[in-house]
């Protein structure tokens, strides 16, 4: 379990695969795909419900601020989910993590809104970018620490 292996995203379908030297291709599981689609739809629905009422808002920072909020909260919650369930509950991790929280957070809107805000107000734009990237990493670290600790308590 050493190295940058992404098993926290694709937990082994057969326990022990990653513990050995055998490199097994991660396979697409139809059930996991269904769970991810349903979860993703739910996550997108929540973000849309939060964002859509503000799309016509006059303040140019309303939607970028909401995107930031979704991305920071999602990073924190995904940290908990991965810390707690990546190994023990791979399907629950796929539904809530890859699906719900993957759909709830967004990189495309973050990238485009960063350009828009930085073009209109460079200092505000740079602050938004710095808070998003550093804040997301800090939120994920806190979530992971919490998830791993609770998993340890439960075990």
């Amino acid at each position: 379990m050493v190295g940058g292996c992404p098993e926290w995203r694709h937990p082994p379908t057969h326990p022990g695969v990653y513990g050995g030297d055998v490199v097994e291709r991660a396979r697409i599981s139809p059930l996991t795909l269904v769970l991810v689609v349903i979860g993703g739809a739910a996550g997108v629905a929540v973000r849309a419900a939060l964002t859509l009422p503000f799309t016509g808002w006059t303040h140019p920072l309303a939607v970028p601020a909401l995107t930031l909020g979704c991305n920071l909260l999602g990073s924190f919650l995904l940290g908990i989910v991965v810390g707690r369930w990546a190994v023990s509950r791979p399907r629950l991790r796929a539904f809530v993590g890859t699906g719900v929280l993957g759909g709830f957070t967004t990189y495309s809107a973050f990238a485009v809104q960063s350009i828009q805000v930085a073009t209109a107000a460079p200092i505000v734009g740079l602050a938004l970018i710095a808070i998003s990237l550093a804040g997301g990493a800090i939120a994920a670290a806190l979530g992971l620490a919490l998830g791993i600790r609770r998993d340890g308590d439960a075990a």
Partner: protein, 128 residues
């Protein structure tokens, strides 16, 4: 909600599920369960998704507001993900790959912004 139709909301949510499904399949195909691998799948997903949202944004009035919401907030919002980048960055640091962690955090953003900017420019070139 600004006159958006119920049909549009349903389409947006369905598109979001489809986007998340495409992300899952593409990530598995690109990452292939390799050990000691950089999370290149999510990088490719976020860069391409940002480029496409830039294109939609650059097209401006050529895209009807309903379609912008369905494709932009729904499909591409479900397809791209911010939380995975944050968590992967910390996981890479925890595994002693500080260099990859920084590339993952900053490099993803740089490439996504460049892709989005190219998309915005390309979209603006099309005749309105």
């Amino acid at each position: 909600m600004n006159g958006v139709s119920a049909g549009m909301l349903v389409a947006l949510v369905v598109a979001g599920g489809a986007g998340a499904g495409i992300r899952y399949v593409l990530d598995v195909l690109l990452t292939r369960g390799r050990r000691d691998a950089f999370p290149v799948g999510i990088l490719v997903i976020n860069v391409t998704g940002s480029g496409l949202l830039g294109l939609l944004t650059g097209l401006g009035a050529l895209v009807a507001p309903d379609w912008l919401a369905v494709l932009g907030i729904g499909l591409l919002g479900g397809y791209t993900t911010f939380s995975t980048v944050s968590v992967d960055t910390i996981q890479l640091m925890r595994r002693g790959r500080r260099d990859w962690a920084i590339v993952n955090l900053v490099g993803t953003f740089a490439m996504a912004v460049i892709a989005a900017a190219i998309g915005i420019v390309l979209g603006g070139l099309l005749p309105g």
